[in-house]
């Protein structure tokens, strides 16, 4: 099992969710996050006072999937979240040791 964590632009969330549903992903977890990458921050100006905003709002989408689906998930996210401009985000893939469905006690891929 793998955990795919994608940091994306907030306005792309709906598209990504739809694309993941289409390839059969059963569930995702979404978190509003802030951070910076190569896009860095932006400046804001109020009556001559300039502020540099370092952390930009992004959305983190986490998907736990069986090994076989990882490439499809990555493809679905990259295709839908890409605008081609700086700040489109990143996808991280990590190994997932265990998964448990709380209601039934199922474990492993059956729990996903």
């Amino acid at each position: 099992m793998k955990l795919v964590s994608a940091i994306i632009k907030p306005f792309k969330l709906d598209d990504v969710r739809e694309a993941l549903s289409e390839i059969g992903v059963q569930g995702v977890t979404v978190t509003e996050v802030k951070g910076f990458g190569r896009q860095k921050g932006h400046t804001e100006l109020y009556r001559g006072a300039e502020y540099v905003v370092d952390f930009l709002p992004k959305v983190k989408v986490e998907v736990a999937v069986d090994e076989g689906m990882v490439d499809q998930v990555i493809e679905a996210i990259t295709n839908t979240a890409r605008t081609g401009k700086i700040g489109d985000g990143k996808i991280f893939v990590t190994n997932l040791e265990q998964a448990i469905r709380i209601r039934t006690g199922e474990t492993g891929p059956e729990a996903l």
Binding site: L45, R47, G48, A49
Partner: protein, 440 residues
């Protein structure tokens, strides 16, 4: 020769017309005019609407979210407190007859609103309406100062400071200019309060900002406005309410009131665009805060002029105020390093001074398309009128500067002016009111 004589005659008539419009010279034999009274009832409500909710929202949106309630609360409490003080004695200080002291102070003869009964008249309107109209000015002037010490003054100290300030600064100065005091005799033109309200509040704001010191973290920490939507709504309400402020200051529903309304609209719009384009040129983008601030600066600058300038004069005044206040609020404040949180000095003092001086020019009847409807008092030349305007500005700046400083020092010595650093960092909403503006 003949023409010259006629012009002089015309000027004399116009001067007399302006003199009649000065509120203090109430002619006892005048009868109540229901049209004037109806308009003044509405104008009074409009000016109250400027403070609550107009100014409150304008300022409330500009502070950080942890202090939004403190601003709304201060404006609301000032509205209530000033009402009571005005009723008890401040109306008398401003518009009473001070006898031998009348040049400087209106005395106690109208204290507790004695004699201000159902049948009492002030010009062609009931004195109750005149008193309440002036009360709304005594409400908004202290409330304007709130922007200068926002996010760091103790609520209790604020109430005491404002109570003393309106009694010994605002009421006497309004007596000098409007109540038949010494400045009125020099023909200072201050139709709706550019000097009495705006320069006065702007200078008091600067002194308060200096005495209280900078906010914790200023200017290195980001302190952006938390909700510019509120600020724009507040500025819009101020704009609408200002028709009551300026056109209402005629105290009648007549041609002067009509022109006051027109020039108010023209100056506000010109200044809004002037600030917006200045910012666009200097910083690269036009901003919401900029256009809102510009409109307010134009409204401030046209205030003293609205009874005596024409549309083209208003255009120049709006342009000068938009550019001048933009520079004062963005460049001057940065250069000088004082923390006038919401630019009360940059907008109200600078805008008020620009307006007061240009009133001395564009009230003249000799400027062709830029002409106004006449100079004040016995002044026959623009030079003489500028002298009078300058004296009005200087007297206000010096008096309010010194007395405001003394009041602040006394209040500081007795109960302390400033919140503790912990309270300031936590935000005044929680530390002073046990409430939060946003529970999301």
């Amino acid at each position: 020769m003949m023409t010259k004589f006629n012009n002089k005659g015309l000027i004399a008539v116009l001067v007399a017309a302006v003199a009649i419009s000065v509120p203090a010279i109430a002619l006892a034999e005048e009868k109540l005019n229901s049209g004037d009274t109806a308009w003044m009832l509405v104008a009074t409500a409009l000016v109250l609407f400027m403070t609550i909710p107009g100014l409150s929202l304008f300022y409330g949106g500009m502070v950080r979210s942890k202090n939004v309630l403190s601003i709304l609360m201060q404006c609301f409490a000032i509205t209530a407190l000033m009402t009571i003080i005005w009723m008890l004695y401040a109306y008398s200080f401003a518009f009473g007859d001070g006898g031998s002291m009348n040049g400087f102070f209106g005395g106690f003869d109208k204290a507790l609103l004695q004699g201000v009964g159902v049948d009492a008249l002030s010009g062609t309107i009931p004195e109750t309406v005149f008193m309440t109209f002036q009360m709304t000015f005594a409400v908004i002037t202290p409330a304007l100062i709130v922007g200068a010490f926002a996010e760091r003054m103790k609520f209790s100290a604020m109430l005491i400071f404002m109570a003393i300030w309106v009694s010994i600064v605002y009421a006497p100065i309004s007596h000098w200019v409007w109540g038949g005091g010494w400045l009125a005799k020099y023909g200072v033109l201050d139709f709706a309060g550019g000097t009495v309200v705006h320069i006065n509040a702007g200078i008091a704001g600067l002194v308060t900002a200096l005495v209280l010191g900078k906010r914790h973290g200023f200017p290195t920490t980001a302190m952006p406005p938390h909700n510019l939507g509120l600020t724009l709504m507040g500025a819009s309400m101020l704009w609408v309410g200002w028709f009551g402020f300026n056109a209402g200051s005629e105290l009648a529903a007549d041609g002067v009131a009509g022109m006051a309304m027109a020039v108010t609209q023209i100056a506000a719009a010109t200044a809004a665009l002037a600030w917006m384009f200045s910012e666009w040129v200097v910083h690269g983008k036009p901003s919401v805060l900029g256009i809102a601030s510009g409109a307010v600066s134009g409204l401030v600058a046209i205030t003293p002029a609205s009874g005596s300038v024409g549309p083209m004069g208003a255009l120049v005044i709006g342009l000068a105020a938009g550019v001048g206040c933009f520079l004062a609020s963005t460049k001057l404040k940065r250069a000088m390093g004082y923390d006038d949180s919401l630019d009360v000095f940059g907008v109200h003092a600078i805008g008020g001074i620009i307006g007061a001086l240009l009133t001395g020019i564009f009230s003249a009847t000799t400027l062709g398309v830029f002409s106004g409807s006449g100079l004040g008092g016995d002044n026959t030349t623009i030079g003489a009128q500028l002298g009078a305007q300058f004296m009005g500005i200087a007297a206000t700046v010096i008096y309010t500067g010194i007395v405001t400083y003394v009041i602040l020092k006394v209040v500081d010595a007795v109960i302390g002016l400033r919140v503790s650093e912990d309270e300031e960092i936590e935000g005044l909403d929680l530390s002073h009111h046990d409430e939060r503006g946003y529970i999301i």
